[in-house]
Symmetry: C2
Subunit: 494 residues, 2 copies
């Protein structure tokens, strides 16, 4: 009885989540600017109602009753655990803080969209300050209620159970190892021949859809659109991925699409019988990111995939089969090019963790109150120089304004990108062990076996198993740095 009540209650919470997901997609992809103010209010209202429901005192009573009475199967038990986790986090946050955070984030993100192209840090500093103040308040409330350090409490919302204690040594090792690896890779690589452009957006979109379909994306249950910043949103039966196009460089957009397709396949592969329930959702963001990086970095930027994809890409743009720019070798050089640069989403996988280390350190300092918003540009410039040897002073657009995250209120999220990269490398190495024909299958454009492997080992578990448990079962070990570093050495120095 109590279990059924809980299930129905959270099914209704899920309906609100559906509305939030779709309105957020709309806001980023189609909404005209004039709709922004009303959209912020509507999203804030939905956040408030959802929060009211999740934090309802009766939820605690139902959970307590279920624990004493009901005979539950493991999925149902995990569902109750997940509900309790959500409930405890929601109870920690006052309703007004939740609505204010939603509203401030939506407005700040809208302001960011116009301020970024103008390199206008001053225009965004105040709204960002507001968003960060609210994030610190949330961190404080959550930390106190859950007995966690404030930053850990935010992180735990994105990747359950993760903490600075686990992450700090990871970044220490990466910061120690990667700079030399970057230098070695740069020294070893040969320059690619540029692709003969320009490349029409429409053809890029068609190519993207062709490859998405081939990789298993179900267009009956999803879409591809254009937005300022590539993302994967929506819901498992209506997955919305986006990209942005550059007519000069078709690979930038294509790899963004393949990345988001990895996220999408995870969503579309979640257990359908648990649709709408907390336990049926995707796992932590590190695991989610592992799925996008598995597809983009481990599979699609590798030589086997490019053997399959090179002619498909060439034909999509009417390229000359004799043109060496379209050769597998040249495309592989492009796809695995290492080059320290300003922009995270354009970064190669060797320099990428250094971009994350920079953000991880700054956002920790912001949450701890050890850094003020106005000090962010200087901290950014200093770290870009130290970690990547690049001078970015005065560049806000492709400096601290390049990513939507902080402006959208996502603080404590960045480390999951690098945790995802480690997880992806570890999973791919296990897949290669389990599927001896893997490289040939990929080179033939046959992704069925790999998708099945991911579905069985990762997607179909929903939130029944945590990230570490999934890793242990699939790879025999918990999260580590070794598989990632071995992958980098093989691909870039091999």
């Amino acid at each position: 009885m109590s279990y059924a009540t809980l299930r129905e209650w959270f099914e209704r919470v899920g309906h609100l989540g559906h509305a939030q997901a779709m309105l957020s997609w709309d806001e980023a992809v189609v909404m005209p600017p004039g709709g922004g103010a009303a959209r912020a209010e509507s999203l804030a209202e939905l956040a408030r109602i959802k929060h009211e429901r999740v934090s309802d005192a009766r939820v605690g009573d139902w959970i307590a009753a279920v624990r004493t009475e009901a005979e539950l199967d493991p999925w149902q038990r995990a569902n109750v655990d997940e509900i309790e986790r959500t409930w405890l986090r929601a109870r920690a946050l006052p309703e007004d803080l939740v609505a204010a955070s939603s509203r401030a984030s939506t407005l700040c993100e809208q302001a960011w969209r116009t301020a970024r192209p103008r390199n206008d840090w001053d225009a965004i500093a105040a709204p960002l300050g507001e968003v960060l103040t609210l994030a610190r308040e949330r961190a404080g409330c959550l930390g106190e209620a859950l007995g966690q350090a404030p930053y850990d409490a935010l992180l735990d919302g994105y990747e359950p159970g993760m903490s600075r204690q686990v992450i700090d040594p990871v970044f220490a090792r990466l910061k120690e190892t990667l700079p030399a690896l970057v230098d070695a890779a740069v020294a070893k690589q040969r320059d690619p021949v540029p692709l003969p452009g320009p490349f029409e957006e429409r053809r890029q979109a068609e190519l993207a859809e062709t490859l998405m379909r081939r990789l298993g994306f179900d267009f009956e249950r999803g879409r591809l659109d254009t937005s300022h910043h590539p993302f994967c949103g929506g819901r498992p039966d209506d997955v919305r991925i986006t990209t942005r196009y550059s007519t000069a460089d078709p690979l930038e957009s294509l790899f963004a699409v393949l990345h988001e397709t990895g996220h999408a396949l995870y969503e579309q592969g979640l257990p359908p019988e648990w649709r709408g329930q907390p336990v049926g959702g995707s796992g932590g963001m590190a695991l989610h990111e592992s799925q996008s990086l598995f597809l983009e970095r481990q599979v699609c930027r590798g030589g086997a995939f490019l053997r399959f994809a090179a002619p498909v890409m060439r034909d999509a743009f009417g390229g000359d089969p004799g043109d060496p720019a379209w050769s597998v070798d040249n495309l592989t050089r492009m796809a695995a090019r290492v080059q320290p640069g300003r922009i995270r989403v354009e970064a190669d996988e060797v320099t990428y963790p250094l971009h994350i280390a920079l953000r991880y350190e700054i956002e920790q300092a912001l949450v701890a109150g050890e850094m003020r918003v106005e000090d962010v540009p200087e901290a950014w410039t200093a770290r870009m120089r130290s970690y990547l040897g690049i001078d970015t002073s005065g560049d806000y657009r492709d400096g601290p304004m390049q990513d939507v995250h902080w402006f959208a209120g996502l603080v404590g999220y960045f480390p999951t990108y690098t945790l995802g990269a480690l997880t992806a490398a570890q999973l791919f190495s296990a897949a290669a062990r389990d599927l001896p024909d893997l490289d040939d299958a990929i080179a033939r454009g046959d992704f069925g076996g790999l998708r099945e492997w991911l579905r069985e080992r990762v997607h179909s578990w929903g939130r029944l198993r945590g990230t570490q448990e999934i890793l242990r079962a699939a790879t025999g070990a918990e999260l580590g740095v070794d598989a990632f570093l071995a992958h980098l050495e093989r691909r870039y120095l091999g």
Copy 2:
């Protein structure tokens, strides 16, 4: 104090309305089919929460307190009246009935989209029966609570204060007058030369946007997209209009766009200081339809507009300036062509009210329980033969399945189309009286004066004035049939 509480409460109700409007737009325009089931649940949940809020017992207390205490200005008083009206209607409906109606309508509309192209009445009869059963239940509850006949109670939800008592004599006169007028117009008109197609969708969309902009549509606060059935949705600062394209006939889509643009200008012209409050919304659907028909029928299908638009259209499709197909005379013949046909949205304005009479009679019988869903096709065929002299037997696709309304749960809505046509004719005749230069201005493509006239006389009143009050103030008379019949005689027999 009570007024502020009421205002804030209904502002929050408005945020839910925003979410509903955008999710409905998404459902019709971009949602992949797999997202349909979850969307229906999400919309039903929003309908349920909104209904809970609107019908909250405290709303009645706040209204009572405001009535005794507060000193309100006329807008605030009208806002309270409108809130009371909404509250009384909501109180009449049980929450489960509201959620069930929303869910059944969303699912039935989705089923309609696949069944219609297949001419498959059997596939849609059961979901339609469910939707109609729920509409009858709503009509019964509302009628009992408000002391109205069941059909009037539904109608009143679309056009406040309207009733069969007003409408029946209107349709009686139209059914008596129009058949002879149709015959005379058909006998008098000359055949147009067909336009040299095919017409690329992209160019049609560009032309549509050009004309929308010229007519005053603000693209900072709205969009044009493609859907199965043209409509105007969204919110005043984010108006979403849609059309569908035929590559054979660019006028069909263009006039649909101009029609929806009339709706959109109304929404964009609503009083900004009352945004989000009930009194700041658009008036009844007859008034709304009068704005679309004012623009499409009174203005854009007339000779003056086509003097301006003919070269714009010709150039948009790269037409030959010497080609008589693109002459003003030929386009005017096309735009004012009278031809009894099966399809309401393609019907000329002379036969159009007969399509509405048919639907009005059938839906009345359905609500009264005098007709069953399975008898609709026969009733349809009989009336099509009698009113328009057309045999449509066996054609469901372009028969009773042609319009989305019933399948989407909109029962009691159809008569507002014809009431809107009468209102539009009456308003246009007053505008021509007030703006002596009107025809020349239109022929020059200068719509500023006309838009100002509409804004002052109609748009800026929100719901402060009802349709009849707006008509009296703008035209000197309440709703009548004379201006409409005079317009038809002038345009088609003049």
